[in-house]
């Protein structure tokens, strides 16, 4: 599972020897995130975000469990118990603001983690399974976050639940019964709130399970790196501990500084004021918008406004789900033998001047009102989004001439004489 030069765990005293024999948890930790896991020595700060995502998952579970001790999932008191947490529970406001902003920061670090994967083609063989599990985690996160946003039972909670479950009504024939079945009624009410709470409590632990598989799958080929060249020898790697624990520790400090600036000084800027109004089925908010981290996909959903053979709503729903599901196929769409965007001139241009502006635009448009020119812009951005992943990536990977790769990670770090660089080593060593 690991490189032959990986350090071996040696229990040093009676207790660790006892444990190593009966239940070798210390050995597992040592090999997973300790000195027993050799990691490429050239990882940049983009490689911090996996650990940071793990941190925010744990933070969400800890704050969430505490909040659940004081919250009541009943439509008649949910809004009041949320205020009870904010006003009467000791440090309840801190728990709730940390949980609400923690969700946002979880998505921030996961989005960066995913786009790191896009740029460095981390999804390519032999790491397809890590990628598939990662996309699964992202889908589970979206479901969990959506249901969590319903729990305070504010106006956006209620109308968001109504709009999102309403998407299922776009399915021909069985759509309406499915929506009623999901909600346990014709509109979001106590039945919906209760099941959302139950699932919102369950899914984080499912995510934790998939995360463990994600890390397990990662440890088989080992971490990728910014050159995309595979590890060849011991000089290419350093032990995870202390090198990357130290580097991740610094990264964690930086993200926590930003996170707590939001929690203590700007706790509501990422939320919507309407969610401080109690849910009212008789009053529709002027603009129903989801949380900011769903904006790109919400923009794609709303981009389809014309009944082209199928109803526009069905197109929107299909496109929204496809926009994420297509990520599952990336390892087989991108056939370029070179991983890193550093050495792929054409791919790199489409990434920086195509995908990134397209995503920025979709993030902006998902929160904008459904009127012109926002709708027309989102239609163009949506078209580009699908063309980028499904047309440009396969074609570019076929026609592009990659730049020469370094011979090894060590060489990329320390430099070498020119002859080695000019070697025709455009194939990554497997």
């Amino acid at each position: 599972m690991s490189f032959p030069w990986a350090k071996q765990y040696e229990p040093s005293n009676g207790l660790t020897k006892f444990l190593d024999e009966k239940l070798p948890v210390p050995r597992l930790v040592y090999n997973a995130v300790g000195a027993g896991y050799p990691v490429p020595r050239n990882l940049n700060y983009m490689w911090n975000f996996g650990v940071l995502a793990g941190f925010f998952l744990v933070l969400q579970i800890v704050t969430g469990v505490v909040l659940a001790m004081h919250y009541a999932a009943n439509a008649s008191v949910a809004f009041a118990t949320t205020e009870h947490i904010m006003r009467d529970i000791n440090w309840g406001w801190l728990m709730r603001y940390a949980h609400a902003n923690g969700a946002s920061f979880f998505f921030v670090v996961v989005y960066i983690h995913i786009f790191r994967g896009f740029y460095y083609s981390s999804y390519k063989a032999p790491r397809e399974m890590i990628w598939l599990l990662g996309v699964t985690i992202f889908l589970l996160m979206m479901a969990t976050a959506f249901m969590g946003y319903v729990l305070p039972w504010g106006q956006m909670s209620f109308w968001g639940a109504k709009v999102i479950t309403g998407l299922f009504s776009a399915i021909p024939l069985v759509g309406e019964p499915i929506q009623v079945w999901l909600l346990g009624g014709f509109a979001p009410d106590n039945a919906a709130l209760n099941r959302f709470f139950s699932l919102h409590f369950l899914l984080p632990f499912v995510i934790m399970g998939v995360v463990i598989m994600h890390i397990w799958a990662l440890h088989i080929p080992g971490s990728s790196n910014p050159t995309g060249v595979e590890v060849k020898s011991e000089s290419d790697t350093v032990p995870f501990h202390p090198y990357y624990t130290a580097k991740d520790g610094f990264g964690l400090g930086i993200i926590l500084l930003i996170f707590f600036t939001f929690v203590f000084f700007l706790p509501n800027v990422l939320g919507h004021p309407d969610n401080y109004i109690e849910a009212n089925p008789l009053s529709t908010p002027a603009h129903i918008v989801p949380e900011w981290y769903f904006y790109p996909f919400y923009a794609i959903l709303r981009a389809f406004t014309f009944d082209f053979i199928l109803p526009a709503k069905l197109w929107g729903v299909l496109a929204m789900f496809s926009a994420i599901l297509l990520w599952f196929f990336l390892p087989w769409l991108d056939k370029s033998p070179v991983r890193s965007g550093h050495y792929r001139p054409l791919f790199r241009k489409f990434f920086w001047f195509g995908l990134i502006p397209c995503m920025a635009l979709l993030f902006y448009l998902g929160g904008a009102p459904a009127e012109e020119p926002y709708v027309m812009l989102s239609q163009i951005a949506t078209a580009y989004y699908f063309i980028h992943f499904l047309v440009i990536i396969p074609i570019v990977s076929q026609i592009e001439k990659p730049e020469p790769l370094p011979y090894s990670i060590t060489e990329a770090v320390l430099g070498s004489d020119k002859k080695a660089v000019l070697g025709e080593n455009t194939q990554p060593a497997v």
């Binding site: 600036t261 014309f306 297509l326 078209a383």
Partner: protein, 281 residues
């Protein structure tokens, strides 16, 4: 094969999105629907003591704002998440809180008969609601239910400024506005207000004359003063922990900054052995 399917699917979604774009662009170009956005104003920026990362409560202002709520707003608006005991946080002593609570009448039960009755408030009671139910509230207010004010400043964009501006924003619609937007004329029982998103609301101007409330601290009770004071009070009701939150934030950030600097030095220390030395080429 999978790539050919992908290209077809990708082109399919792109074409449908672009057809929608074409239809939308054609409609936008040929249809000159009038602009339905009413030119309502964004709230004016007022400086409050609790603004900014070092903000603190101005107890004098909060007490004045409480008096405005009690004498004006509370006739129609409830404050259901706030209890009289919370008034202790505005700088009142325990005895003052008790006396203040007793000036309110709250629903109670007659201890002899068990019949519903009323009694003077106690610190543990929550602020009473002005109407027995929503139907009564709507009937008394031209079919509009006066919203609860506990969270009002958090439930609106730029809420504190919005509340203060709305209270002084009543004025008859201008000629130019009615020319461009005839729908902006106030209907029966509605009042024109330049800060309200659809420019007409069912709430009659609540602050109508200077000196409407007599302040205990001698501050001149102009309409603007009363509006900013009650907006400050409602900021406190929306988030009584606001100042504590900011004050807790500083030690946390200072500690984290220190820890992060230490983490940086330990990182450079640990990596110095394997980092390539910078040498002149």
């Amino acid at each position: 094969m999978i790539r050919i399917i992908a290209i077809l699917v990708g082109l399919g979604f792109a074409v449908v999105a672009l057809v929608s774009f074409g239809v939308g662009a054609y409609t936008a170009a040929t249809d000159d629907a009038p602009d339905t956005h009413l030119p309502y104003k964004h709230p004016q920026d007022v400086n409050y003591s609790f603004d900014g990362p070092f903000g603190t409560w101005d107890y004098g202002q909060l007490q004045r704002g409480y008096k405005v709520y009690k004498e004006v707003c509370s006739a129609c608006h409830s404050l259901k998440f706030v209890a009289f005991r919370n008034l202790g946080e505005l700088g009142y002593t325990e005895a003052q809180v008790k006396a203040e609570a007793a000036t309110w009448t709250v629903p109670g039960i007659d201890p002899n008969t068990g019949e519903a009755s009323t009694r003077p408030g106690e610190p543990t009671d929550y602020f009473p609601k002005p109407y027995p139910n929503n139907v009564a509230a709507a009937a008394a207010n031209n079919n509009a239910i006066p919203p609860d004010l506990s969270l009002m400043t958090k439930a609106r964009e730029d809420g504190t400024n919005y509340v203060a501006s709305l209270l002084v924003g009543y004025q008859p619609p201008s000629e130019e506005l009615l020319e461009e937007h005839p729908e902006a004329a106030p209907g029966p029982g509605l009042y024109h207000n330049v800060y309200f998103p659809n420019m007409n609301l069912a709430m009659a101007p609540p602050l109508t004359s200077n000196g409407q409330v007599t302040y205990d601290d001698g501050t001149e009770a102009t309409i603007g003063q009363m509006a900013t004071d009650v907006a400050a009070f409602l900021t406190w009701t929306a988030e009584p922990t606001l100042v504590k939150r900011k004050q807790t934030g500083w030690p946390v950030l200072v500690f984290l900054l220190f820890a992060t600097i230490l983490a940086w030095f330990s990182k450079t220390q640990i990596w110095s052995a394997v980092k390539p030395k910078k040498t002149k080429a």
